[in-house]
């Protein structure tokens, strides 16, 4: 399991930002935390680093998202095996 903590920054268009929040809330692996101004703390639980990366790309591409910053990553040993297999 690969768990990460993100700071998601939304654009300053309220409608677009709301749309992006809804998309995030309804996507399975995210937990939405507190928000401050145009930013929100979010966690992602994914099966492996690659899936986490794919979600990252998905969120980055959503209309209403200004940027995504990953500030915390925890991975289990199985992730190393994934890393080994893929390198």
């Amino acid at each position: 399991m690969h768990t990460s903590g993100w700071v998601v920054t939304f654009v300053d268009d309220p409608a677009l930002a709301r749309g992006a929040q809804l998309e995030l809330a309804s996507a399975g692996p995210f937990t939405l935390g507190e928000s401050l101004g145009c930013r929100r703390a979010v966690t992602l639980e994914a099966s492996d680093p690659q899936t986490a990366h794919d979600w990252h790309e998905w969120v980055q591409a959503l209309p209403g998202i200004e940027g995504v910053e990953v500030v915390f990553v925890h991975w289990d040993d199985c992730d190393h095996e994934v890393a080994h297999a893929g390198a």
Partner: protein, 809 residues
């Protein structure tokens, strides 16, 4: 079991959430240079996980991470919220940094090439093999190091070769990335390294990027600047570039110029500042003098040049009018005037940043001089947010190369081997007999590899070359000449963590420990010295590079090499424990024993830094801090204070009272900086009818330099799997090339096939192609040119002539 697992998951999730929430809070509210909260910031609580600080292994930004270790393995990474550089943020490489330790093909045993094949040998055999070769011919040995060497590693290598072997053939890969910044600083201020720091990003009104793809190369610093825009600050980003990049997407003005014309653009700014009576006369009169590069125009330029008057200077830049420069630079008159007006406007704070675009340049020293010059001339110098600053690409290019002096002419503390009084200072600090240090400057990188690749009977007088912490088989320019021609009887030793293009040709491969598998100290781009402790063991028999150097030195000592002893017949790396008993640190079992070898070496090095007021902090202070910017000065209450801005009385205690500004290491000894004129000089190779395009090379966000580490992180590898050639839509149409087509690039050095990408990650202008250099399966440096700046000796990887041929759709 399931309940336990679910509780564990909750723990991890809430740790992730609290890390994100606190970074968010910190970024939303507090300016980056605000004091740290008392009592520190709590780290995520995770069962069985111990946290410790370390700088990120990758770029010169010098972000700090907290590394989570469980059962001897790195299992978590979080941005360090106590670090002023990044305040908890990391880029995509930074948050994957833990994975670089765990690639499946880590080197774990020393290997010697026998009958063409690398075969495992013992460490004793490896160390003896190296020592015997050096003992037989110390002067034909060379050491090729790195801006990724830790400070103690570089210091030990430097002392070993310059203080022990009386041989100056040591040079680092940083010669290839920031040597022009060094010569630029020295010939302007008399001493190397920026006077300012990243705080400028928080205070500037205008940020000008000189050929620097900031968004991909220093992404965390870029976020720090863009954050201000998000908060509503009225700030302007100007991207002076030869191709559109991710940085251009966020810029207010994208000024695409012709390669090499940056020299004319800088002179054009100076011309306009003078023409609009905007010279900062008071500042210039008090703190600057003018400099021309020759006695008379047409003579060869020199590094330190000749004095000239303001009137002469004015005459030299007079021809660089916007109208004249618009004809050659690719910029319009209006774009050039935009720059001229900005520098003429005293109300704005202007920060100039640069990295490889200005440094990897056959006129690298000149363009560095000119950017300093326009800031000094216009008075855009000395206020926070108002000045020029170079950035580095490697984590310790400043710390280990510039400060420790691992370049072929230098000694620790900015001393030079060819200045007898300075060499004598080093001999004294090293307790060596007078005259031990050879006054002849050693080979710089291009020379060193040329000599190694030339047969001995044809003048190739380097026979044994030891490479540590770098991958020249991929990063040197013109690889067919400087690497691939290695004669069979020459001996290449490579210490590394993974197989690379360099180990492929190596005769002896030594497995190294990396990053948090060893103790370390780095120095980042803003004079910040950063320390970390070993957290996990290296795999198999991998060992520290520094230990490898000391073990070879000891073997030479045992073989009777006189240089391995100091004046008192003690071993060059003599270390004692708290009781005064010698610790045999050359034995691996003792290396992490009763002494901290890093601390011992660092403490020995520290007095060197005091010679030119670059006083680095005591090791014990570094263990508590997220890096400290030198000069670090002891306060009356016993605390240590870092310096944000040098040469300014308000910040720098080395400035004499009442002076305001003092360039206290100025070239002329008059406390004044030089305002340089350097003319436009054409590049040595330009597109012509046979090779009609410019070839530019560089980096991408996902991969760090030659990709040795980041290509082992599956996510990063998949995100950017292979090198490509970026082609402009105009050229692609003319050549009938589409995205995905196979094309061949041909230069006078060689040819290689790539997949074409039109308007992809970046956008080249017509007549220009770009290839990243991270991919070991497509070595673009087989095609690049080794021509270099005459002063810094740094090659130009950004411009040579190429033709593109379509191979197949």
């Amino acid at each position: 079991m399931r309940v336990l697992e679910s509780t564990r998951r909750q723990f991890i999730r809430s740790a992730a959430m609290s890390a994100a929430a606190s970074v968010m809070t910190a970024r939303s509210a507090v300016p980056a240079d605000a004091p740290k909260p008392p009592g520190g910031i709590e780290l995520p609580v995770l069962p069985g996980v111990a946290w410790d600080k370390a700088p990120c292994r990758f770029c010169g930004t010098g972000c700090h991470v907290q590394v989570g270790v469980k059962d001897g393995r790195v299992v978590a990474i979080t941005g360090d919220r106590q670090a002023e550089v990044n305040k908890g943020l990391l880029c995509v490489k930074g948050y994957h940094v833990g994975h670089i330790l765990y690639g499946p093909d880590r080197l774990t045993k020393p290997m010697l090439r026998k009958n063409g094949k690398l075969e495992p040998i013992t460490w004793d055999e490896a160390i003896e093999t190296i020592a015997k070769r050096i003992h037989a011919s110390p002067q034909s040995f060379a050491f090729y190091g790195s801006g990724q060497w830790t400070v103690p590693e570089g210091y030990a290598a430097n002392k070993f070769i310059k203080g022990g072997l009386s041989n100056n053939h040591i040079d680092p890969n940083a010669r290839l990335c920031m040597a022009s910044a060094v010569t630029g600083y020295i010939s302007t201020y008399g001493v190397d390294e920026p006077y300012n720091c990243y705080d400028d990003l928080d205070h500037c009104d205008v940020l000008i990027l000189w050929g620097n793809n900031f968004a991909e190369m220093h992404p965390v610093l870029f976020s720090r600047f863009i954050d201000r825009k998000l908060k509503g600050d009225k700030i302007t980003l100007i991207d002076l570039t030869t191709r559109h990049t991710r940085t251009s997407e966020r810029a207010d003005h994208v000024l695409v110029f012709q390669p090499q014309s940056d020299l004319s653009i800088a002179n054009c700014i100076a011309q306009q500042v003078i023409a609009s009576n905007a010279v900062a006369t008071d500042f210039v009169d008090k703190h600057c003098t003018f400099r021309k590069p020759w006695k008379k125009a047409g003579d060869p330029q020199t590094l330190m040049g000749e004095p000239c008057t303001f009137d002469e200077y004015k005459q030299y830049v007079a021809e660089y009018t916007p109208e004249a420069v618009a004809k050659t630079s690719g910029l319009s008159v209006e774009q050039l005037q935009l720059l001229g007006k900005l520098f003429a406007d005293k109300t704005k704070r202007i920060s100039s940043l640069w990295c490889m675009g200005m440094n990897q340049h056959t006129q690298g020293t000149a363009i560095n001089n000119l950017v300093h010059a326009i800031h000094l001339l216009s008075g855009h110098w000395g206020r926070p947010g108002d000045g020029p600053q170079s950035l580095t690409g490697q984590p310790s290019a400043c710390g280990t190369v510039r400060e420790v002096g691992t370049l072929s002419h230098s000694l620790p503390g900015d001393l030079r081997v060819d200045k007898p009084d300075q060499a004598a200072k080093a001999e004294k600090l090293w307790n060596l007999p007078p005259g031990r240090i050879n006054p002849k400057i050693g080979y710089h990188t291009v020379q060193m590899w040329e000599k190694f690749c030339t047969p001995t009977d044809q003048g190739g007088d380097i026979d044994t070359l030891w490479v540590q912490v770098t991958n020249p088989g991929q990063s040197l320019p013109n690889l067919p000449k400087l690497f691939e021609k290695k004669p069979a009887n020459k001996f290449l030793i490579v210490s590394d963590v993974y197989p690379t293009a360099t180990t492929e040709l190596a005769d002896l491969v030594l497995p190294s420990a990396m990053w948090v598998e060893k103790n370390g100290v780095f120095g980042n781009s803003e004079r910040r010295t950063q320390q970390w402790f070993k957290m996990v063991n290296p795999p198999g028999e991998a060992r520290d590079d520094c230990w490898q150097t000391i073990a070879v030195a000891r073997k030479l000592f045992d073989l009777g090499h006189p240089g391995m002893k100091d004046k008192d017949d003690k071993f060059l790396f003599h270390m004692t424990d708290s009781k005064g008993t010698e610790v045999p640190v050359w034995k691996w079992e003792s290396y992490y024993g009763t002494v901290n070898v890093d601390e011992k070496l660092y403490d020995e090095y520290r007095p060197f830094t005091q010679i030119k007021h670059k006083d680095v902090a005591p090791y014990t202070e570094l263990t508590k801090a997220r890096g400290l910017r030198w000069p670090v000065v002891k306060q009356p209450d016993g605390t240590w204070k870092e310096t944000r801005y040098r040469f300014l009385e308000e910040y720098d205690s080395n400035v004499a009272k009442g002076k305001g500004v003092q360039f206290y290491h100025s070239v002329a000894g008059d406390d004044k900086a030089f305002i340089w004129f350097r003319p436009y000089v054409p590049p040595p190779e330009m597109p012509d009818k046979d090779y009609p395009l410019w070839l530019d090379t560089g980096r991408v966000l996902e991969h760090w330099h030659t990709g040795t580490m980041t290509r082992r992180v599956p996510t990063l590898k998949r995100a950017m799997p292979a090198a490509y050639v970026e082609v402009s839509r105009d050229d692609a149409t003319a050549l009938g090339v589409k995205t995905g087509d196979k094309v061949r690039l041909e230069t006078r050095r060689g040819s290689l096939e790539f997949t074409a990408w039109i308007d992809g990650r970046g956008r080249c202008p017509k007549g220009h192609v770009f290839v990243p250099f991270f991919d070991e399966t497509k070595l673009i440096n087989k095609l690049t040119l080794e021509a270099h700046c005459p002063f810094s000796k740094e090659p130009d990887y950004k411009k040579c002539a190429v033709r593109l041929v379509k191979v197949s759709a």
